[in-house]
């Protein structure tokens, strides 16, 4: 399986040389789609004074049922980073991206003199409920071309699969994706929409579901225990959620937590958060 990960430059360091090299690189892990209401790293970076080159991941297009292993998935992210050559100063992760931030840092620690600093923004592992919730969002976009039968079929699958004995996050995402394609293609045909565009939509959603589900194959806990988390006030997000549900067990989850008034969606556009990140990077 050819996994092709690219990175978008959110901002270049003022010291960046013509060859594209920079003395400091910071990686941002998040799945950002245009139009998403939650703020993304682009908004945080715009508020940061810290001089570095910031990269944002574009996770590869791969179906959740492709059989890809999580470590291979993460390694594909690192290929462009290694090719670029500069040391990674820090890794940021938002939400499920915090799992990837930990995995990236683990890999980088093996090859760099100094392990990158890890900043976690509302860190969360993937859960079956996350998949179900996000799937609902994605599926809702098709609502105007769906008939009752489509909705009933899909909803039945969503609820049936989650109850299947021994169901895993990865399997759940893969099964839902299959259902989504089947129902979606049927609906596209009925609505007279071009399947070519459908394929693009399936690709987009498959990469999103893969991003969510592959995170389940990674264990971020050790790295998190040495990292700093920045938490929003969202009761159902990040560490607030984990403490409520006990998903990752009791005890400490991170080395240090800094809490903010901002809600989950505003965390990355909060001036206070940007100031704090600036200070954390100075160390």
């Amino acid at each position: 399986m050819n996994l092709n990960t690219t990175w978008t430059t959110l901002r270049s360091s003022s010291k960046a040389t013509v060859s594209g090299g920079s003395d400091e690189l910071i990686l941002c892990a998040d799945f950002h789609t245009t139009g998403r209401p939650e703020a993304g790293f682009a908004e945080l970076v715009a508020r940061l004074d810290h001089d570095a080159t910031f990269w944002h991941v574009n996770p590869p297009v791969v179906a959740p049922d492709s059989g890809t292993a999580a470590p291979a998935y993460v390694r594909s992210w690192l290929e462009p980073v290694r090719a670029q050559g500069a040391p990674v100063r820090a890794v940021f992760g938002y939400c499920v991206g915090a799992v990837y931030a930990a995995a990236l840092a683990d890999e980088l620690a093996l090859v760099q003199e100094e392990a990158p600093q890890v900043l976690l923004f509302d860190p969360e592992p993937t859960a079956m409920a996350t998949i179900r919730h996000q799937f609902g969002n994605v599926f809702g976009m098709l609502s105007s071309i769906l008939v009752e039968e489509d909705v009933a079929e899909t909803e039945g699958e969503v609820e049936r699969l989650i109850r299947v004995e021994g169901m895993t996050v990865g399997n759940y995402a893969a099964q839902l994706y299959t259902t989504f394609r089947r129902v979606g293609e049927r609906a596209f045909e009925r609505a007279g929409l071009d399947q070519e565009y459908g394929a693009e939509m399936w690709a987009l959603f498959s990469s999103f579901l893969s991003y969510l589900s592959f995170a389940d194959g990674l264990d971020p806990r050790d790295r998190w225990l040495t990292s700093t988390a920045l938490s929003s006030s969202g009761e159902y997000n990040g560490l607030n959620r984990l403490r409520g549900t006990g998903e990752l067990g009791g005890g400490e989850l991170v080395a240090r937590e800094i809490r903010f008034e901002a809600g989950h969606g505003d965390l990355l556009r909060s001036d206070g958060v940007a100031q704090t990140v600036g200070k954390l990077l100075e160390r």
Partner: protein, 1072 residues
């Protein structure tokens, strides 16, 4: 899509049915939520962070509550009532309702630590904290310490609760606590299942459809409400008022005499109150009622329906009849209360893009019991308390509680629509209205005043302007000065006019006036004849003006630089007996032309003058033309009393005396010029003549201010804007008047900062130059700049469409009565009859056509022309409001918004702006304006211009701009619509963007989009994106990828992608 933007289009109830899905279908782990439940939750999705659906049950106890007993009480209540364990979950296919098992519903009691904010503020926040449809319990509990006791509070979501539930739960809670606290054993734990409302009777649906046939909610706006906000917050506030004993007794009396329930009497009076403030006359009021069946009467849950009471208010009708029809409407509605309001919303036609509730905006709720009763809890004194959720779904809600001893009104309101001060007044007027209605139940509603004592006091005091004016003509005042000068011991002629290096004495000026009179007599001019003055400002023109009066004639001021056609029209229309012209000026046509008398050619008068005054106060003083709405100028005739009053007022208000110099800056054909001319002549000061270019350039103005040490000057805001930077350092200590157009706050602050004494003056020509005047405080010029109070012997009122005077804060047409009211229009009896009238008790008045309101402290705010208030696609739009928003942009120096096209069909708003430093700012103005204005009021087109077309009086010529805007639209529409694919990369760039903007609009189903409109920020999502790209392919034959749209989600950006693709095809490069 940002939720704020989304909420603009969706009302608190007005949720399109298809989003809600099919009717409830039972499912394995719950049921599909009902339509009315979904409507509540959807509202929270559209207005995130709101606690608008949160209700509370709370009580205060003297002493401490026993935690274990309290917890046991709450736990038992939850176990008993299934409905309190009911939760909602958003799932892929919609909102589901399920009931948690008792062991799943673990309710903890939060121990509140109020800190310095106090217990009540803490509780308000506790109640306002939103619940979520995520399967979590919809009940929260807290205890907070307060003074010598504690407050216990349950916050409950409306989807499982309502007002009656509060009372029921409180009773149950108290009794259970008391039993447990006394060591007693509560009865067996029976579970009360959640009650489901029966399916509405089909007859009810028919009833409501018929009842609301033809209803339009846009008629419900109050004249005191604010313009639509750009973002929906539902932020609410509450005001409590106990009716005065007189009002309470009036209600009790009407209940008997009008044979109606107290609730109906109070409701009918509420309707009259709303109607008097502009709602209706096809009025609706929402009235929440419980829809529990007899057997479910004491069931907790969400079982209310808000009835839409449609009670048209006919002002010819008396209150007795109105109460009768309201009672019938109410009873009928009650009989069909089973049909939910949420279904009814789809019945009524929606107007335009308005997001608001389209059934009612104001609600009325009556409870014949106190909500703050006292009781005993475990031997301690306790009382129920009300904790607000700081939100309001409705513009205004009257919640009336009535006990044997008093009637209380709790007025909750939406703060983005009404100000607290306005609600205070509404409540005070309601109180007084009840007394008035009881007094006159058989008078037509049109005759019932809806004012409160404060309205009368404040407006009465502003209008208490009577004072004697002596002498009664300006001519006599000037003559007195001439006599005084003659009597002076020095014998020198007192300086009266300064014109460049010339200094003309008052006695010389008078001599020239007498010479003018003699010439007029020779030419056969007689008493009452009109004499046109066509000359540049200067001592000769000043003398000629006085000379016309000495001849007993009426002067007509004309401006030599005006087009010949305009001058000829005025000469013909006025029937001028003669034209006095300055050197070098020619007059077209056969007319009696007289030269101006050169003041240097006469010998100053000596001794007494004006032994007999040829003019009295009621003789006509001048005739002046202003542009008419029909295009032809109309002449207004003013008498000497009018002018004497005005000049005397400003001599007094500005304390103008012999040491002062007043600048004659304004074109003589603009009436305000007369104030500049006569103010110094009657008060013994000097008149300094300014050159014409001083009206548009700072340098010559600064020079004349400096050379003549001018102390008083006036100009229009247009002039001030042009000159302020260059004259700023010369204005300190001078008295400065600004008038003739609205004074923007930014300009007021800029002028104020120069250290001058700034006055904002207002008045139409028809009421003699200025009718109101207000000193502008340097610091207070914020938001809208008011125009002060009526000047001497002037009474003004703000009238509703029937001509009734409106109270404080309510918008209406400004009408002016008093000494300034002109004789009328020259030779236009129909127009005179239409614009002038008699109003008891104000007397003869002029209808200004300006929209205005009284501020709380008795000053007047002008809100624009009535004809600048337009209605587009059902939305009321104030063009002036839009201009104010544009003007607040730092790069915009001037803004004028007009309607292009037919307002009843396809009209759009076009904004012309002057932005000399950065004309390209127009590309950013849509986003900027949309930040503060609703979509309906955001202009669709922005045009940068160097300057606006002006009327003869230096005011913006809006009709000319409207014609320009319409012409732009027509020419844009007539341009051949190039086939974008054929045009290829070399095609008209704007054309392609325009096509894309059109597609944006079609797919997003909204207007007001522009080249930089982000598809995803305006309601677009991936699937719509697919549709968009298919349309783009049809239009351009270019197939773009979804990724292209994600990368470039604006019409301008996508057009670039299309062009790149077309270029690639043209140059033979295969598409990647």
């Amino acid at each position: 899509m940002t939720t704020d933007r989304m909420s603009e289009q969706v009302s608190q109830f007005d949720i399109p049915r298809q989003q809600v899905g099919p009717d409830p279908v039972p499912r394995a782990d719950g049921e599909r939520a009902s339509h009315k439940e979904e409507a509540l939750w959807l509202l929270e999705e559209f207005v995130p962070g709101t606690g608008v659906n949160n209700l509370s049950v709370a009580f205060r106890v003297e002493g401490r509550l026993r935690r274990s007993v309290l917890l046991e009480t709450v736990t038992r209540l939850l176990r008993r009532h299934e409905v309190l364990r009911t939760v909602f979950r958003t799932k892929a296919a919609g909102l589901m309702r399920e009931v948690l098992r008792p062991e799943e519903s673990d309710l903890r009691i939060v121990a509140g630590d109020p800190g310095p904010e106090g217990a009540r503020a803490w509780l308000t926040r506790f109640v306002a904290e939103p619940f979520r449809p995520d399967g979590g319990l919809l009940v929260r509990a807290a205890v907070v310490p307060e003074a010598s006791g504690e407050v216990f509070c349950l916050a409950v979501h409306h989807s499982v609760f309502d007002g009656l539930s509060s009372a029921l739960l409180l009773t149950e809670c108290v009794s259970l606590y008391n039993t447990l606290a006394s060591g007693g054993v509560p009865g067996p734990e029976t579970v009360v299942p959640a009650w489901r409302e029966p399916t509405p009777n089909p007859a009810s649906a028919r009833f409501w459809r018929g009842k609301l046939d033809g209803f339009r909610a846009t008629e419900l706006d109050l004249w005191c409400q604010k313009p639509d906000a750009s973002v929906t917050t539902l932020a609410g506030d509450v005001l409590n008022h106990a009716l005065s004993p007189a009002a309470r007794d009036a209600v009790r009396r009407m209940r008997r005499e009008l044979r109606a329930p107290e609730s109906v009497v109070l409701l009918a009076a509420y309707s009259v109150l709303l109607a008097a403030h502009g709602a209706g006359p096809d009025l609706t009021v929402g009235s929440p009622v419980s829809v529990r069946s007899a057997e479910a009467a004491r069931t907790i849950g969400y079982h209310i329906n808000v009835l839409t009471l449609r009670t048209p208010v006919d002002r010819a009708e008396c209150f007795r009849e109105f109460v009768r029809s309201t009672r019938r409407t109410f009873m009928e509605a009650m009989a069909h209360a089973d049909y939910p309001v949420d279904d009814l919303l789809e019945v009524v036609e929606r107007d335009g893009g308005s997001w608001r509730n389209n059934l009612f905006r104001h609600t009325f709720n009556y409870v014949p019991a106190a909500t703050d009763g006292e009781f005993v809890l475990d031997g301690q004194r306790a009382e129920a308390v009300v904790v607000e959720n700081s939100s309001s779904k409705f513009d205004l809600e009257f919640f009336v509680t009535s006990t044997a001893t008093d009637i209380k009104v709790r007025a909750a309101f939406y703060v983005d629509v009404l100000d607290r001060a306005d609600v205070e007044l509404l409540v005070a007027r309601y109180d007084e209205l009840l007394v008035t209605l009881a007094q006159w139940p058989d008078r037509a509603l049109a005759e019932i005043p809806v004012w409160c004592e404060r309205d009368r006091r404040v407006i009465g005091s502003a209008n208490a302007t009577d004072r004697p004016v002596e002498p009664t003509t300006v001519l006599e005042s000037i003559a007195r000065r001439v006599r005084a000068s003659g009597a002076a011991e020095s014998g020198a002629d007192a300086e009266a006019v300064l014109d460049g290096g010339r200094r003309v004495g008052i006695r010389r000026l008078w001599a020239a006036a007498e010479a003018t009179r003699d010439r007029l007599f020779e030419a056969g001019v007689g008493r009452g004849d009109v004499v046109a003055l066509l000359a540049a400002r200067g001592p000769e023109l000043a003398a000629a003006t006085i000379g016309v009066w000495l001849a007993g004639a009426v002067y007509l001021p004309l401006e030599p630089s005006h087009p010949e056609q305009r001058i000829s029209y005025q000469l013909d229309d006025s029937g001028a007996a003669a034209v006095v012209v300055g050197p070098g000026i020619t007059v077209a046509g056969e007319r009696r032309v007289l030269p101006l008398v050169d003041v240097d050619s006469v010998r100053p008068v000596t001794g007494d003058v004006l032994a007999v005054n040829p003019v009295g106060p009621l003789d006509h003083a001048y005739l002046i033309y202003t542009s008419g709405s029909t295009g032809l100028p109309k002449g207004t005739l003013l008498d000497h009393r009018n002018l004497a009053n005005l000049v005397a007022h400003f001599a007094d208000e500005l304390s103008v005396g012999p040491e002062d110099t007043v600048l004659w800056l304004t074109t003589f054909s603009f009436d305000i010029s007369a104030l500049e001319l006569f103010l110094p002549l009657v008060s013994g000061g000097r008149l300094a003549v300014a050159p014409d270019d001083a009206r548009t350039q700072g340098e010559p103005l600064a020079r004349v201010l400096r050379d003549h040490d001018v102390s008083v000057l006036q100009a229009t805001p247009t002039t001030w804007r042009l000159v302020v930077e260059e004259v700023a350092e010369h204005l300190a200590g001078r008295r400065v008047l600004s008038g003739g157009e609205p004074l923007p706050a930014v300009l007021a602050r800029r002028l104020g900062a120069t250290g001058c004494d700034l006055y904002n003056v207002y008045g139409p020509t028809e009421t003699t130059i200025w009718s109101t005047s207000g000193r502008i405080d340097r610091e207070s010029a914020d938001g809208r700049v008011d125009v002060g109070r009526p000047i001497a012997n002037t009474r003004v009122y703000v009238a509703d469409p029937d001509g009734r005077a409106l109270p404080l804060g309510v918008r209406g047409e400004l009408c002016i009565a008093g000494e300034g009211v002109a004789v009328g229009y020259h030779d236009r009896p129909e127009l005179t009859a239409a614009r002038f009238g008699e109003h008891p008790p104000y007397g003869r008045f002029y209808r200004t056509g300006d929209l205005a309101r009284w501020t709380g402290d008795g000053r007047l705010e002008i809100l624009g022309r009535l004809d600048r208030q337009v209605k587009l696609r059902g939305n009321r739009i104030e063009l002036g409001e839009i201009e104010a928003v544009l003007l607040s942009h730092p790069d915009v120096v001037a803004a004028a918004v007009v309607v292009a096209g037919d307002p009843s069909a396809d009209a759009l708003l076009c904004a012309f702006v002057v932005a000399p430093e950065r004309p390209e700012v127009v590309s950013e103005l849509w986003e900027y304006a949309h930040g503060s204005l609703p979509v309906s009021a955001t202009p669709q087109e922005f045009v940068a211009v160097d300057a606006f077309p002006m009327t003869g009086n230096d005011k913006v010529d809006y009709p000319a701009l409207a014609r320009q805007a319409s012409a732009r639209r027509r020419s844009a529409a007539e341009e051949p619509r190039a086939d974008a694919s054929a045009a290829g990369g070399s095609g008209d760039r704007d054309e392609l963007v325009e096509v894309l903007v059109g597609l944006w609009g079609t797919l997003l189903e909204r207007g007001g989009l522009h080249a930089d409109a982000n598809f995803f920020a305006h309601g677009g999502h991936s699937l719509l994106g697919v549709r968009l790209l298919q349309e783009v392919r049809v239009a351009t034959r270019v197939r773009l990828k979804l990724k292209d749209l994600f990368d470039a989600p604006t019409p301008a950006g996508l057009a670039a992608k299309v062009r790149t693709a077309l270029d690639a095809v043209d140059s033979g490069v295969p598409e990647s």
